[in-house]
C-alpha cells in the first residue's frame, strides 16, 4: 500500500542515486510490516483500554467510599456540613480514610475540628468509624497537632503519646 505523494522531477531527488530517491510507491514487503504494526497497535490499544476501565472502576470505588465517608461523618457528628476535608487511601492499600470537619459552624478549618478514622466496607451507605481525634483551628491534619484521640487510634501511630 502506498499513499505517498509523488515526488517532483529534478532537484536533489533527481541527482541522488536510485536507492536514495523519493518514492512514488512504498517498497515491497510493507504487508508484513503492516501486519506487525497492526498487531502491536491492537495490543497497545488493549492495554490502554484495560488501564482506562481499571482507572474508572478505581475512581468509582473511591467516589463511593467518599460518599459513604461523608455520610458517616455527618451521621456521627449530627452536623450537615458540606465542606469537610477527606484524606483517602486512593490506591487500595488500606480502606482507612480520615474525614475532618468543624465541631461548630464556621468557615472550613476555622473552628476546632473533629476527625474520624473510617474503615471497612460500605453498609447501608455508611462505613464504621473506629476512632478519631481533634485538631485546633487553622491547622492541617498533621500528627503533631492531634489531641483527644479516642477509639483504636489511641493505640496506634496516628496520635502523639
Amino acid at each position: 500500500m502506498s499513499t505517498g505523494s509523488p515526488p517532483l522531477d529534478g532537484g536533489l531527488g533527481g541527482r541522488l542515486p536510485a536507492w536514495l530517491r523519493p518514492r512514488e510507491l512504498e517498497l515491497g514487503g510493507s504487508g508484513r510490516t503492516r501486519l506487525i504494526e497492526s498487531t502491536l497497535l491492537a495490543l497497545v490499544g488493549l492495554l490502554l483500554a484495560i488501564a482506562t476501565v481499571n482507572d474508572v472502576v478505581l475512581q468509582t470505588h473511591v467516589n463511593h467510599r467518599l460518599v459513604a465517608d461523608l455520610r458517616t461523618w455527618r451521621s456521627y457528628t449530627g452536623h450537615d456540613y458540606k465542606n469537610l476535608s477527606v484524606e483517602q487511601d486512593l490506591y487500595g492499600h488500606t480502606t482507612r480514610d480520615v474525614v475532618c470537619g468543624n465541631v461548630t459552624p464556621g468557615a472550613p478549618k476555622e473552628r476546632v475540628q473533629i476527625c474520624l478514622a473510617i474503615t471497612g466496607p460500605v453498609a447501608h451507605g455508611r462505613r464504621a468509624a473506629h476512632g478519631g481525634w481533634y485538631l485546633p483551628p487553622k491547622v492541617e491534619d498533621l500528627r503533631r497537632y492531634r489531641y483527644g484521640c479516642y477509639g483504636s487510634t489511641k493505640d496506634g501511630r496516628l496520635c502523639p503519646q
Binding site: 532537484g11 512504498e26 497492526s38 490502554l48 475512581q59 460518599v67
Partner: protein, 446 residues
C-alpha cells in the same frame, strides 16, 4: 442470492436511504442541543466546569441552570454518540446524507454557539492574556516571569493557580500575536482570543476541505470529522486554545505540499510554515522530518532554515535568548503529570500511585523508537502525512501531561490519509479519554 432476496434487500436499502437524511438531521439537532445545553448552563456561572471569568456571557443567563458534572457529562456523551452516528451515516449510505451546505451550516452553528458562550473547562486563555499583558502593559518578559509578577493586574485573578508562577511555554510568534490584544482590557482580550480561535478553526477546516479534495477524498466527510468532533468543539474551541492556531499552520503547510503543480517554492514555503507553527506551539515541528525525508529535496530544508533564522532573530529581539529556548520549555512541561494521561492510568493498573521519573524516560525512549520506525517507513515510501499523524498521536499517548485538546492534533491529518488505522486509532484514544471522564456520572459526590 435469489432474485427475491435481492429485491427485499434492495427495498430495505431504498427505505434506509430515504430515512438517512432525516436521521442525519436529527443527529445534527442533537449535536446542537448538547452544545447549547453546555453553553447556556455554563453561562449561569458558579460551575466547576466554567473557570472564574469576566462577565462575557451574562446575556445568556436566565435560560439555563448551573452546569454540574452530571449534565455536562451527559451532554458530552450525547454529543459523542450523535457525532459517531452522523459519521457512520455519512460513510455508509450511497447518497449524501448531509449536503456540503448542511455540513457547513451545522459546523458553523456549533462554532457560533460555543463562541457566544463562556470560556469552558480551562483557564489557559487567561494565561495567554496574562503573558501578553506582562509584556505590553508591564514591560516584563513572559519567558522569564510567571503571571504572579503582575499580581495587581486585573487578569491575574483569573489565571489558574497551577500556572501563576510559570513562565510561558508558547513560542515567540504566538506571544507576539497575542500582544496587540493586551490593551483591549481583560474582557476585550477574552473576546479577541475567542475570535482568534474561531477564525483559526474556520481556516483549519477550509484547509482540511482543500487538502481532502486534493487527495480525492470526500471533503464533506473530512470537515465533519474535524469540525463536529466533541473534543474540538467543546474543549478546544470552548477554551479558545491556541492549539487551533497551531493546527491552522499545520494544515497550511500540508495544503501547500498537496497543491498542484508542485514547486520548490511551495515546498520551501510549506516547511517555513511548519517552523512558523512551531514558533506558536512547538509540537507541530514533528511534521518537518517526515516532510523532508519524503521529499528529499533541498527546498524544504532551505525553507525551514530560513524560517528558523527569521524566527530566531525576531524571538531574540523581542524576548532575548529565553524566547527561543524552546527545548527548556518542553523539558519543563514534559515533567508535568495529569490524571487523564495514559501513563498515569497504566501506573495505577500496575498498583503504583502515579508516574515515577523512570517512567518519563521509558516513555521518551518509546516515543523515539516510534518516530524512528515512522521515519524508516517514510523513507521507504509511506505517506509522510500519515507518519506525521501517527507521531502526533504517539506524542499525546506517551505524554504524562495529556489534555483533551492534545488528542486533536492528529485528527486533521488522519482524515487525509488512506491508512484508515490512523483515524480509527485517533477515535479510539479520544473515546478512551471521554470514557475516563465519566466517573462523576457513575458515582456522584455530594
Amino acid at each position: 442470492m435469489s432474485v427475491a432476496a435481492q429485491s427485499v434487500r434492495g427495498q430495505a436499502g431504498v427505505r434506509s436511504e430515504r430515512w438517512a437524511p432525516a436521521l442525519a438531521g436529527l443527529l445534527a439537532l442533537l449535536l446542537l442541543a448538547a452544545t447549547a445545553e453546555i453553553v447556556l448552563d455554563g453561562a449561569v456561572g458558579h460551575s466547576p466546569l466554567v473557570p472564574k471569568s469576566p462577565e462575557i456571557a451574562g446575556w445568556l443567563q436566565g435560560v439555563g441552570e448551573r452546569l454540574g458534572f452530571r449534565v455536562f457529562l451527559i451532554a458530552v456523551l450525547v454529543f459523542t454518540a450523535a457525532y459517531a452516528g452522523l459519521l457512520a451515516l455519512a460513510r455508509r449510505t450511497e447518497t449524501r446524507v448531509l449536503s456540503k451546505r448542511s455540513a457547513i451550516v451545522l459546523i458553523g452553528a456549533l462554532h457560533l454557539v460555543v463562541f457566544a458562550g463562556p470560556i469552558l473547562l480551562s483557564t489557559d486563555v487567561f494565561s495567554y492574556i496574562a503573558y501578553a499583558r506582562m509584556g505590553v502593559e508591564h514591560g516584563l518578559n513572559p519567558y522569564l516571569n510567571g503571571p504572579s509578577s503582575i499580581a495587581g493586574d486585573p487578569v491575574y485573578t483569573y489565571v489558574g493557580h497551577d500556572w501563576r508562577h510559570v513562565a510561558t511555554a508558547y513560542g515567540p510568534f504566538y506571544t507576539l500575536l497575542s500582544y496587540p490584544l493586551a490593551p483591549l482590557g481583560v474582557t476585550g482580550a477574552v473576546w479577541a482570543m475567542k475570535l482568534e480561535a474561531l477564525l483559526a478553526s474556520a481556516g483549519t477546516l477550509a484547509l482540511t476541505w482543500r487538502c481532502a479534495r486534493a487527495r480525492q477524498l470526500d471533503p464533506v466527510w473530512a470537515i465533519l470529522v474535524v469540525g463536529a468532533n466533541p473534543l474540538y468543539v467543546i474543549y478546544a474551541l470552548g477554551g479558545a486554545h491556541n492549539d487551533l492556531v497551531m493546527l491552522l499552520a499545520m494544515m497550511g503547510a500540508v495544503s501547500l505540499t498537496l497543491a498542484r503543480p508542485s514547486s520548490r517554492g511551495r515546498e520551501g514555503a510549506a516547511a517555513a510554515v511548519i517552523v512558523a507553527g512551531a514558533l506558536v506551539k512547538a509540537t507541530v515541528a514533528a511534521l518537518l522530518p517526515f516532510m523532508i525525508v519524503s521529499r528529499r529535496r533541498l527546498a524544504p530544508i532551505v525553507g525551514a532554515l530560513a524560517a528558523l533564522g527569521v524566527g530566531a532573530v525576531i524571538g531574540y529581539a523581542a524576548f532575548g535568548v529565553h524566547g527561543i529556548d524552546v527545548v527548556a520549555a518542553l523539558n519543563r512541561d514534559a515533567a508535568f503529570v495529569s490524571t487523564d494521561s495514559f501513563a498515569n492510568e497504566i501506573a495505577h493498573l500496575f498498583g503504583k500511585p502515579g508516574v515515577f521519573p523512570i517512567d518519563h524516560d521509558l516513555l521518551k525512549a518509546g516515543l523515539v523508537v516510534i518516530v524512528l520506525h515512522l521515519l524508516w517507513r517514510t523513507w521507504r515510501g509511506y505517506d509522510w502525512i500519515a507518519a506525521s499523524g501517527w507521531t502526533l498521536l504517539a506524542i499525546s499517548v506517551t505524554s504524562t501531561w495529556l489534555l483533551a485538546w492534545y488528542i486533536l492534533w492528529p485528527l486533521p491529518l488522519a482524515v487525509l490519509t488512506r491508512d484508515r488505522r490512523l483515524l480509527v486509532a485517533t477515535f479510539a484514544i479520544q473515546g478512551l479519554f471521554i470514557l475516563h471522564q465519566i466517573t462523576p456520572l457513575l458515582a456522584p459526590v455530594s
